[in-house]
């Protein structure tokens, strides 16, 4: 029994669209300010 190929864009997605692991973690885990700057700021606070 043959079934015709079907384009993936024609197939349904879930109503609850789930992003990839880490896709929502930008606010907390994105790389940004250098460790040099952060280390200096933390040191200033702790030793203040």
């Amino acid at each position: 029994m043959d079934i015709l190929p079907i384009d993936i864009d024609a197939l349904p997605m879930l109503d609850t669209a789930v992003g990839l692991f880490g896709s929502l973690a930008g606010e907390t885990l994105a790389s940004g300010q250098s460790v040099f700057e952060i280390a200096v700021i933390i040191a200033l606070i702790v030793h203040d």
Partner: protein, 331 residues
């Protein structure tokens, strides 16, 4: 030229790019400190050894195991002292700590230890950091020691999560709205304990920089990570809480792009795993790759998958496969 632009330029101008011996000394000093910290972590009573011992603990048990590291901070002072000594010896040395966040004056920090589901992070939130727009709920537990409260108010947010949602039945349509508690002053030295699947927070109105030491234990979970819009309190986004399933999903997409129909058994195996989104992703990819191979598994999924949205998507796809093509071909 503005002051900040001048400072930026000056820092790059002074980097000893042409001084190979000095750069070698910096690398050696950083490597030496990294090795010293690793040895201390791996030793009996060390942080790494404790993380390894907690590998099979439930999140709340693991958090309890690490409370001494949050209560007695002499180890942290020693570690920061080591980092400061490294910087004092050469300001272009970078302590072997991974930085997170902190771009554009927002909250950031350094990861002090991370292995498996356990992460110990020193967070800094500058007084000038912009307020967050979203609250993130991540399955697991955390304990947070407030090292410097900065005069900030603590705004706690809560969502309800049912047992069925935790077991893999989460749907966006039935997700609880987010409730916010009355803000209260954050206190120096206090300890916060959060069930991070259900509780999140943000800080508001800080007059000074805020410094937090956070231990988070957030293992892979069937309940997704959820992001809520703080203005509307409504669910704004959902992300996988299982790194392995997420990576395998990307790999299946790659195999489908490569036309690897011989890998169909791998797709079928993934359609029977615990993560509902990963199950449907695998089936969708398999149908596009090899609809004939997918058909019996698709029928089984439409009849018996434990997640209602997956059953509905499978049934709709079955109907699509059975519908005659314009030329009269098809199933």
């Amino acid at each position: 030229m503005s002051g900040s632009a001048a400072a930026c330029a000056a820092r790059h101008d002074h980097y000893p790019a042409g001084d190979a011996p000095r750069r070698a000394r910096i690398r050696a000093a950083v490597a030496d400190l990294d090795a010293r910290w690793r040895r201390a972590d791996a030793a009996t009573g060390g942080l790494g050894a404790a993380i390894d011992a907690a590998a099979d603990d439930a999140p709340e048990q693991a958090v309890a195991r690490f409370l001494p590291w949050l209560a007695d901070l002499r180890w942290l002072h020693r570690r920061l002292g080591d980092a400061l000594a490294l910087l004092a010896a050469d300001p272009f040395a970078r302590p072997p700590l991974r930085a997170v966040g902190g771009g554009d004056g927002s909250a950031g920090g350094v990861i002090l230890a991370e292995r498996g589901a356990v992460r110990l992070t020193l967070h800094i939130r500058p007084a000038s950091a912009p307020p967050p727009t979203h609250a993130l709920f991540v399955p697991g537990r955390s304990a947070i020691r407030v090292l410097a409260a900065g005069g900030a108010s603590l705004c706690l947010h809560e969502v309800t999560v049912g047992a069925a949602e935790e077991a893999g039945g989460f749907t966006a349509a039935r997700a609880s709205a987010c409730r916010s508690l009355v803000p209260r002053p954050l206190c120096d030295g206090e300890m916060l304990h959060l069930d991070t699947a259900r509780q999140s927070y943000h800080l508001d109105g800080a007059r000074g920089d805020v410094l937090l030491l956070e231990l988070a234990v957030q293992p892979a979970a069937r309940l997704p990570v959820r992001s809520y819009d703080l203005a509307s309190r409504r669910l704004a986004g959902v992300g996988a809480a299982q790194q392995g399933a997420s990576l395998r999903a990307m790999t299946l997409t790659l195999l489908r792009h490569l036309g690897r129909a011989d890998a169909a058994p791998l797709f079928v195996a993934e359609t029977q795993k615990g993560d509902f989104a990963a199950r449907w992703h695998a089936m969708r990819e398999l149908v596009a790759l090899d609809p004939a191979a997918a058909h019996p598994h698709l029928a089984a999924m439409a009849a018996a998958d434990p997640h209602a949205e997956v059953r509905a998507a499978a049934a709709a796809t079955l109907a699509l496969l059975k519908s005659p093509s314009p030329s009269g071909e098809g199933l």
